[in-house]
């Protein structure tokens, strides 16, 4: 039995070498099918993963309370420090709360002058928004109480104002008439899914912004309140509780709309990842079509060579091969070609994926399941169409097979 198998392997390899064009075309069909499916699905998965990572960059279980409906604010009153305390004290399931005021100003260092967001907040914000310190340190509660003229800057600002390789900690930058000492640089976050740079912020105590930069606005100084929920606590219930609290504090009567909104990053993540999932499955279908086309290619090659192969089978039977020996040869041949095609296809997919991952900025995630599916499907087509005609031919009497036109 083993001898018979090795014999079949020997004959099959001879036949593959002898019919290089046919073998090559068969393999190409499998290569294209396998490579297309793996590439498309892997890139799709990578894109989904990127979105997830970017959402998590925004913060841990981040919720943002904003005035007005939608993005603008529309003249609705902002939030006071009392609102911030009320949220912290009265809403269950909250890990941390930070007030947030943004002031877009030009920032000057020596002869460099750029416009950036000046963000006023408390040290809680660093944890809520998932900031890591690169060099130096974050500011402290004490510095918030003192309205200390200190700031933490993002990597983009460090690069644009100070240049490559310069440690800005200890340097002073000027915002309008205010001089701020740089005490730290945050670690790079990169861009959001919408292309916004997350590293172009100057973060400073909110008291510094209110007292020294923008001036008081009747106690309602904050255009956002950053909230992070406790791990595992349902964000939907936090959203509902914050909304109820705000309606009460802002004295909104039952028949009036909210004049604020609570943005839930997790909800956004779900919406975006479900839309990228649609894209991924669309790509998957496109890939499935290429797999099918590859399969039809294999089928054609096999069917075209059926006449020649039927005669070959006739010759083999006439000189004393048993039907099962001939079939084993064809099976080994089909499996060998399919395996060569499958492995080449996977290798090609890797090349394309790493290339594509660079282009679309998606990470390259290896998924053994999709590799296996693509491989098995192509191999099945190769074997089916390589083997079925052979089975028919081998069932003929040798003389009929020899006469085949």
């Amino acid at each position: 039995m083993i001898a018979m198998f090795f014999n079949a392997l020997l004959i099959a390899i001879r036949e593959i070498r002898r019919n290089l064009t046919r073998s090559f075309l068969t393999v190409i069909g499998i290569v294209i099918g396998v490579a297309a499916v793996i590439t498309m699905v892997t890139l799709g998965r990578g894109a989904t993963e990127t979105v997830k990572q970017q959402i998590s960059k925004m913060g841990n279980n981040l919720l943002v309370l904003r005035p007005g409906q939608g993005w603008g604010g529309g003249g609705a009153p902002q939030f006071s420090i009392q609102d911030v305390d009320a949220v912290r004290d009265q809403v269950p399931g909250i890990a941390s709360v930070a007030p947030f005021v943004v002031n877009n100003s030009s920032v000057i260092y020596q002869d460099q002058n750029r416009t950036f967001d000046i963000q006023g907040t408390t040290p809680n914000y660093f944890a809520i928004a998932n900031w890591q310190i690169g060099t130096g340190r974050f500011f402290t509660e004490a510095e918030v109480i003192e309205s200390a003229p200190v700031c933490v800057i993002g990597e983009t600002i460090r690069k644009e104002l100070f240049g490559e390789g310069v440690d800005p900690v200890g340097c002073k930058i000027r915002v309008k008439s205010l001089t701020l000492g740089v005490i730290g640089v945050t670690r790079v976050k990169g861009q959001t899914g919408f292309g916004d740079d997350l590293d172009d912020n100057v973060i400073t105590p909110y008291t510094t912004v209110i007292h020294r930069l923008s001036g008081r606005q009747g106690g309602r100084n904050f255009n956002q309140v950053m909230i992070s929920g406790e791990q595992g606590y349902p964000t939907a219930s936090i959203v509902a509780d914050v909304a109820a609290l705000m309606r009460e504090r802002r004295k909104i009567t039952a028949n009036k709309e909210d004049d604020f909104n609570v943005f839930d990053s997790q909800q956004l993540a779900e919406v975006i990842s479900s839309s990228t999932k649609v894209m991924t499955s669309l790509l998957g279908w496109v890939a499935a079509v290429s797999l099918l086309v590859g399969g039809i290619g294999i089928m054609n090659i096999m069917l075209v060579s059926v006449t020649e192969r039927t005669r070959e089978i006739g010759i083999r039977l006439a000189i004393g091969a048993r039907a099962r020996e001939v079939l084993l040869q064809f099976l080994v041949e089909a499996v060998t070609l399919s395996c060569i095609g499958g492995v080449t296809g996977i290798a090609l997919a890797y090349g394309l994926c790493s290339l594509g991952a660079e282009k679309v900025g998606a990470p390259f995630i290896f998924d053994p399941k999709i590799n296996l599916i693509a491989f098995v499907f192509s191999a099945a087509i190769g074997i089916l169409f390589g083997f079925m005609p052979a089975r028919r031919a081998a069932s003929l009497d040798p003389i009929e097979a020899l006469r085949h036109e």
Binding site: N7, L10, I11, I315, L317, A321, A323, D397
Partner: protein, 245 residues
């Protein structure tokens, strides 16, 4: 030459198709062939000579009747058993050569050995020897497309004899060859029969080719119409003159 019995046919019948469209190609053939004979089977096209040949060569199965090859009842064998019988005892030469395309002469000759479990070295050795026997030692690397018709048929003969079979079946072995090459091939077959004791059963419709055989069997309408020893007897000459062709 021993008078051991090689082939015994009794009432061998072959019907193609079924029902009204069926056609009786052989109608009860009785025939005995001894080991070491060189037999030519002749007859016009449609006479059933090729059918008889295919049955004798175990390439096809009879509808009725019995066929004993060296005492084995061939009609009782299944497909695989017939394959094994062909593998171990028979060699074939076809009109259309039936060599594997794009395959060197040496590998074509090696083909039957692949199914007999010889080592690579043994295969090469035996195939080279067979090619030498048909005077093609210098062409072992050539593919059929690079060989003349006569050379291709000699490769086919080498393939048929490489397993040292008891019996060679040749179906119109010179049908595709010119007269000069025909003489060469027939001389080769005659030598294999005379020097190596291989029984040869050959189908042909050419008198000159049949003349090389020592026994000539005529088939007509599915039965044997004449069966005679060739060459030495006057009777043969007479019957030849009487031949309507």
């Amino acid at each position: 030459m021993s008078a051991e019995k090689l082939i015994q046919l009794r009432g061998l019948t072959k019907r193609y198709g079924t029902g009204d469209a069926s056609f009786l190609a052989l109608r009860g053939v009785d025939l005995d062939i001894q080991r070491g004979e060189f037999v030519a089977i002749m007859g016009p096209s449609g006479s059933g000579k090729s059918t008889l040949m295919n049955l004798l060569g175990c390439l096809d199965t009879p509808t009725a009747g019995s066929y004993q090859f060296k005492g084995i009842s061939v009609e009782d064998l299944n497909k695989d058993q017939r394959s094994l019988l062909r593998r171990h005892a028979l060699g074939f030469i076809f009109q259309g050569f039936n060599l594997l395309a794009r395959t060197s002469a040496l590998e074509n000759v090696e083909l039957p050995l692949l199914y007999r479990g010889y080592s690579r070295k043994q295969r090469h050795e035996m195939a080279r020897k067979a090619l030498a026997q048909v005077s093609l030692s210098d062409k072992e690397r050539n593919t059929p497309a690079e060989l003349s018709g006569g050379q291709q048929q000699r490769v086919a003969i080498a393939r048929a004899i490489v397993t040292r079979p008891d019996t060679l079946f040749a179906d119109e072995p010179t049908g595709n060859l010119d007269s000069k090459t025909t003489v060469e091939i027939m001389e080769l077959l005659r030598k294999l029969n005379a020097d190596h004791g291989i029984s040869i059963i050959m189908v042909t419709h050419e008198d000159e080719v049949a003349a090389c055989a020592r026994r000539i069997i005529n088939v007509r309408d599915g039965v044997i119409s004449s069966d005679r020893v060739n060459g030495h007897t006057k009777e043969t000459q007479d019957s030849r003159l009487e031949d309507p062709r």
